[in-house]
């Protein structure tokens, strides 16, 4: 089959096929957005967007995602650094286990968390330390569970790309290991760190499966933006759902543009 694709004709067919796939995908996404715009009108859209419920969902999502992203990055930095720089028995297994939250359905993770809080230890934590089940801390926990693996993966590739010799030189210049990490490795990882933070934050804003399992979907209580879409559609309030979808799309676009800008000025190491 590939024989007939040799020469200039083959080049053209290949180019048309690859560009065609790109155009098809773009048309598909633009089509979805246009269909949503056609479904609603401006006034309805604005009033839905500024309704008390949606403003609450935006505030809650931004707050929980910010806390979750900070926690996830604080956990991910040492974990990713350890996996990137150390070798220990069973490292491959640990590395694979840390990828589980990326491939396992968030609903399953949320359900597992819910089951945990039904065990004696989980109940004790939920009753005496901090209320997670069907409460706002549950949203943060669900988001952290889902996004920490992503943060680790992104930061590991950042640390992998930093030559170990920078730290070694810093050590010979008088730095202890922690000093070398904070004074040399972290500044070198700065762009990767910012990009990972933005991406994990955006992923936390969009998290639904694990959140709804652990924190539930109670309007004006545990209602994040994705939960708001779910609740709006459940009550056939399509305009409100469309308003929230646009909020999520705008957040995603801004996040991706920011990352592109950061990666564009990355250090040439």
């Amino acid at each position: 089959m590939f024989r007939i694709l040799k020469g200039a004709g083959g080049d053209r067919v290949f180019r048309v096929a690859t560009i065609g796939a790109l155009v098809l995908l773009a048309v598909f996404f633009i089509g979805i957005i246009v269909s949503m715009l056609a479904y609603t009108d401006w006034d309805t859209f604005v009033s839905a967007l500024f309704s008390e419920e949606i403003l609450f969902a935006i505030r809650l999502s931004v707050m929980t995602a910010t806390i979750a992203a900070i926690i996830a990055i604080l956990i991910a930095v040492p974990v990713a650094y350890t996996i990137s720089r150390s070798s220990f028995p069973g490292k491959d297994i640990v590395d694979s286990l840390l990828d589980l939250p990326i491939v396992v359905s968030p609903v399953a993770l949320g359900a597992a968390l819910l089951v945990f809080f039904n065990t004696p230890l989980g109940s004790a934590i939920d009753d005496d330390v901090l209320k997670f089940v069907f409460a706002v801390p549950g949203i943060v926990l669900a988001q952290v569970t889902v996004i920490s693996a992503l943060a680790i993966r992104l930061l590991k590739s950042t640390f992998d790309s930093i030559d170990l010799r920078y730290e070694q030189v810093a050590r010979t210049l008088g730095c202890s290991k922690p000093e070398a990490f904070f004074r040399v490795t972290l500044p070198l990882a700065r762009d990767g760190l910012i990009a990972s933070s933005i991406l994990t934050w955006a992923r936390a804003v969009g998290e639904f499966g694990a959140t709804v399992m652990l924190a539930g979907a109670t309007a004006m209580k545990t209602e994040t933006l994705p939960t708001a879409i779910f609740l709006s559609l459940a009550t056939a309030d399509v305009e409100k759902a469309i308003a929230v979808i646009f909020v999520l799309i705008i957040i995603a676009v801004v996040a991706l543009l920011a990352i592109r800008k950061i990666i564009g000025r990355r250090y040439q190491i």
Binding site: Y166, Q168, R171, T172, L173, G174, C175, P187, L188
Partner: protein, 354 residues
Amino acid sequence: MIEIKNLSLHLGEFHLKDINLSIGDGEYFVILGPTGAGKTVLMECLAGLHHVKQGEIWMGQREVTHLASEERNVGYVPQDYVLFPFLNVVDNIAFGLKMAKCSGSEIQARVNELADLTGISHLLHRNTRSLSGGEKQRVALARALAPSPGILLLDEPLGALDLRTAKYLRLELRRVHHGLGLTTVHITHDLMEALEMADRVAVIQNGQVEQVAEPEEMLFYPEGERVADFIGAPNILNCDYCRDLGQGIIEVGCGGLKLTVPHEGGHVRKVAILPRHIYVSETRPPGLSVNGFQGSITAIKTAGNTVRIWIDVDDTNLMAEVPSYIFEEMNLAVGKEVFLILRMRRIRCYESHN
């Protein structure tokens, strides 16, 4: 004084085997060996970048085998210099001083002093990414020297530079070393670099020290075939007489050959020249030829990318080496008469053998 005693290290497939070295105070010590011989690993052991389980390393009266890098007081210039890209030149040089909690005025004075010493005063506020290879090398050297280390470690410091810059910086490194009197360990795979710079040379191959000697001694008396092979099997000629021509030039008689050689000092007993420093031509080279001779080819042998040619000149047999692609352009055969020039500046002299 650095002493390495019975040092062995296993790193995956690679082994450093029972290394014993003693490097004197203020010495410029060169570790010479081919790529993959273990030079960098050995230097990293000195810098404290590997956990040594077998053997000891002493620096002065201190055993440093198990001390962390920051406790050893060594200055380290790695290959490719590894300047911190998020800091400008000043901040790179000042890095070690800040770690030593020096005051602002102390840092400024020391940075200026080192910038003068290494000739980079005009670069201080530049971004390190915009520097040339030679400039980066100087900044890395100034950074390593800033905290006043007891020992300076240089890993292939001239390897990434063009020939002209490297040649110039060889002199600069020697000048800096002479000025500071700092014990320096320099690793290289370049024989000429080792011969020109070292007080003493250690040849290392396959993780083992093969020979430790002064450069001339190594060249004239290589220990074992592997060292002789690595340094390129020099032609070594015994001198019958030695006559001073003035201005640092002498004439030596070796068998039937009269050679003009740059040399200052005592009576020369032997001279050496590497086969690659003998120029072979089918026709008489034009102009005044110093150390030019005529001889006949006795043997030709291919060795990798080069061809070795043995030539009888009077009663002396010399080996020359030419790259294969040049050999193919020539019409050489055993028995043919050829002209050869022994490059004067490349001839090394040996005064005595201890």
